[in-house]
Subunit: 494 residues, 2 copies
């Protein structure tokens, strides 16, 4: 039973005359949202005692509860604490066609850091950039984000706190902390402004609402949501068709040259290989356990041509890792739940807990490879993806996750030999299909896209390791060695 | 790098001659599993030091890691602790077409309870019955469960522990606890036998394997898995067509009579209603907060005829509950991830955390209503479901979750009036479609099925509340009152 905060100045009869229409419009909005190609995130944030909780509850009363989810971010659970900070926001995202209300939003958590020193402020700004990126990324994927800030002047806040304290039913809602932040109003307000400035971007603006008059406030929130929804629906009604690119032109030819220049004529005798392999497997086992003991998780990313030997390489890796701590995620066609979310959602959901391992057999790089080449997404989308993928990996590495990215390179002739071999070998036939042959005909396009990927998504913390894989034994050893070295280096650093 | 435990007696060359064929067969099994209409759960449990971890790792080496997930149940996370014990097993289940290996299984956790007193043993037996029920329920849904117990004699165990201690690489694996349980071998072995007896059921037998010879042991595990898989595949190859029942015959006519005898002619004036409603909303708000303070969650289940007013009733409820702690789950067509799991999986995934609320708008009872009537599942399946649903709810209530189940009853004439009204009212047209009219023609069949449900799934902890809903106001008040009373009663009890 939400009691409206703020002293109403709008006459009750004016309010009550307007509410029914607004409610009907909001429910109509939910009906229109269901088949729409986007989700809606409504953030209700604001000054202390401005009535965030009340607004959330009133909205929930107006809306059809079957189409809304309300989320407030309480303390982190241990499953959340073991992942990068944004993981909990990603897991809370609604699928297409649904509305989620965030009480306090991710912004409330950022403000709760309450930065004071110069260093804390720098961290705060970093968090804000991350939030802005998160919102931008969702907005680019057509998610409608409506952010509302309920503003209350210091005087009105004081009056409101006294009013809450006076009523025995609500007195428990006022804590000494509230009074402390009331006295610290100016500083806290400046922090909130800093937050809003950093996250006020095209497509994801802040709507600041005067919250002193609770009735006017409630109506304003509903009307802003409606207006933004209607505009968004008009914009996103017919999804523009994507035309398949006629020719894939390299953005960074240097990347392609690097790929083409890789020598592929390595030799390695079987016996020589086995001795070395066992040595490196032993080291890898030790390295992974060392990482786990320090709560560091490891993410392996395997990309490469069809038949380049990703599966075999992964098998060698997993043979050195305790299977109970390791998960291999084969990235194929997304499930329909995955399809109803942002393309990165399905990768976020598998980010490992502290001390565990996730191996992605193909990965988020599909966005700039197959999706680019086959025209599964718009050009703006895959062009934007380079930054999105860098940011995603940066979040992993900042959290202490060790990210190891491999591209397995083979020659076109070697691929042909392997395709033929698969076709001729009974128990390998399932590993080859028409799509593989189709992809093969796109060799040059892939070369360009892979080259661009190598250049545009490398970073110090998550570099690409280019593996010559015409010789499988050589490739496997290289992967083992590189993995051991990279894990050791990462453990030394932090 | 798993080192085989146990002293091998099988000559190395015999072993090495047999492994390649077994590996090839296992990978072939994975290929055949992918399109199969079931998943495979392989449990590797056994006596201390019998080599569970080694077997798991060896299997992972033999299998294609892209189609396997290995799970070991470590300490509970707080998200798990706040749900009924079986929640973590449900969430770990693989979708159809995939293989999951459980190191220790759920059985290992049960044995870790290490019951000693008579009371602890009774609790242990209760846990075992629950596990047996869980396995039976999955097996009935075509899941293949292969349970392997690795047996080691006390002498062999002692030898093995000494051997592990002697090697600096493995000495860390032996703890004082291991020696303690070695000395307590007889008692622990009897407990394990008791566990196996309780969970050894048709379709989900235990396979006990002598683990002293590690090579023979590894081969035996692989071969049992293969044999069980092949037999299962033959059995489940063509899913038998389900014929729609010609006529739905009540199993418990008393339930239908109770339904038909419910008086529906209540009257309630608008003003009278509003005063009472506000009183009860206030009480409900308090009751839900009381429950939350004690970490008790609440699950509401709403079932009823089309247009019986479920949505409106849920809205009244949610208006009294802080939206941040409450989630409404509209149960409609399952997503494809949900379809690839047991039918209860989608409900388990929404079980609330401690102190939270989940409201199911339609529920697991679809199994014995629409699925029974439309012939979406076999007769054995919906007949079995009554016990499965009772067990599911018992798990919720045993964990302290308050379960409130409502059936909203209206007359056929009132439904017709509401359907017509919906068709004529612009903003309600989305609420009525051809399916509603089709269901209406099945009125008598539904009466029988609902009657059976009321009788066969009532329990003391989760009784059905039959609500006369021709008068919406009356119905809403009844639901509010009943909810308050039931929550208060539940809080007093525990």
């Amino acid at each position: 039973m939400a009691k409206a905060t703020g002293v109403p100045r709008m006459p009750k009869r004016v309010y009550e005359a307007r509410v029914p229409q607004l409610r009907a419009d909001l429910v109509q909005m939910q009906v229109a949202l269901q088949p729409a190609p986007f989700s809606v995130l409504l953030v209700i944030a604001g000054d202390e005692a401005a009535g965030k909780g009340d607004v959330v509850n009133i909205l929930n009363g107006w809306l059809d509860p079957r189409g809304v989810e309300t989320t407030a971010f309480h303390e982190l659970t241990d499953e959340e604490r073991e992942r990068p900070p944004m993981w909990r926001y990603w897991r809370s995202l609604p699928p297409r066609g649904r509305l989620a209300i965030y009480s306090g939003g991710w912004h409330g958590e950022a403000l709760a850091e309450d930065p004071r020193s110069r260093r804390e402020l720098a961290d705060f700004d970093h968090t804000l950039r991350r939030l802005a990126h998160f919102e931008g990324l969702l907005a680019h994927a057509s998610v409608l984000i409506v952010k509302i800030w309920l503003r209350l002047s210091q005087d009105a806040q004081g009056a409101r706190l006294r009013e809450l304290e006076a009523d025995p039913d609500t007195a428990w809602r006022v804590s000494p902390d509230d009074w402390r932040s009331h006295r610290d109003y100016d500083r806290i307000t400046r922090l909130a402004q800093r937050m809003r400035r950093a996250t006020h971007r095209p497509g994801v603006p802040w709507h600041v609402i005067e919250a002193a008059d609770s009735r006017a406030r409630n109506l304003a929130v509903g009307e802003i949501l409606l207006a933004r929804f209607r505009a968004h629906l008009r914009l996103h009604a017919p999804p523009a068709p994507i035309s398949r690119p006629r020719r894939v032109v390299a953005l960074r030819p240097a990347g392609r040259r690097r790929l083409q220049a890789l020598p592929l004529n390595q030799r390695l005798a079987e016996t020589d290989y086995e001795a070395k392999r066992d040595k490196w497997l032993g080291r890898l086992n030790r390295a992974v356990r060392d990482a786990a003991e320090r709560g560091r998780s490891i993410v392996w990313v395997f990309e490469g041509w069809d038949a380049a030997g990703k599966g075999g390489a992964i098998r060698r890796l997993t043979s050195a890792i305790d299977a109970r701590d390791c998960r291999v995620i084969p990235v194929a066609r997304p499930t329909d739940e995955e399809k109803s979310h942002h393309y990165l959602w399905r990768f976020w959901r598998h980010v490992p807990r502290a001390g565990r391992v996730t191996i992605y057999d193909r990965s988020w790089y599909g966005r700039v490879l197959v999706e680019r080449i086959e025209g599964f997404c718009h050009e703006e989308a895959w062009r934007r993806a380079y930054a999105e993928l860098r940011d995603f990996e940066e979040q992993l590495t900042e959290h202490g996750i060790i990210v190891l990215k491999f591209w397995l390179q083979i020659s076109k002739a070697e691929q042909l030999r392997r395709f033929r071999h698969r076709e001729e070998t009974d128990y390998k036939q399932h590993k080859i299909n028409a799509e593989d042959w189709r992809n093969r005909r796109q060799w040059r396009a892939y070369e360009a896209a892979v080259g661009d990927m190598l250049v545009l998504t490398r970073s110090r913390a998550a570099p690409w390791h280019l593996i010559a894989a015409d010789n499988k034994r050589f490739a496997r050893l290289e992967i083992l060695k590189t993995s051991c070295e990279q894990i050791a280096a990462a453990l030394e650093e932090k």
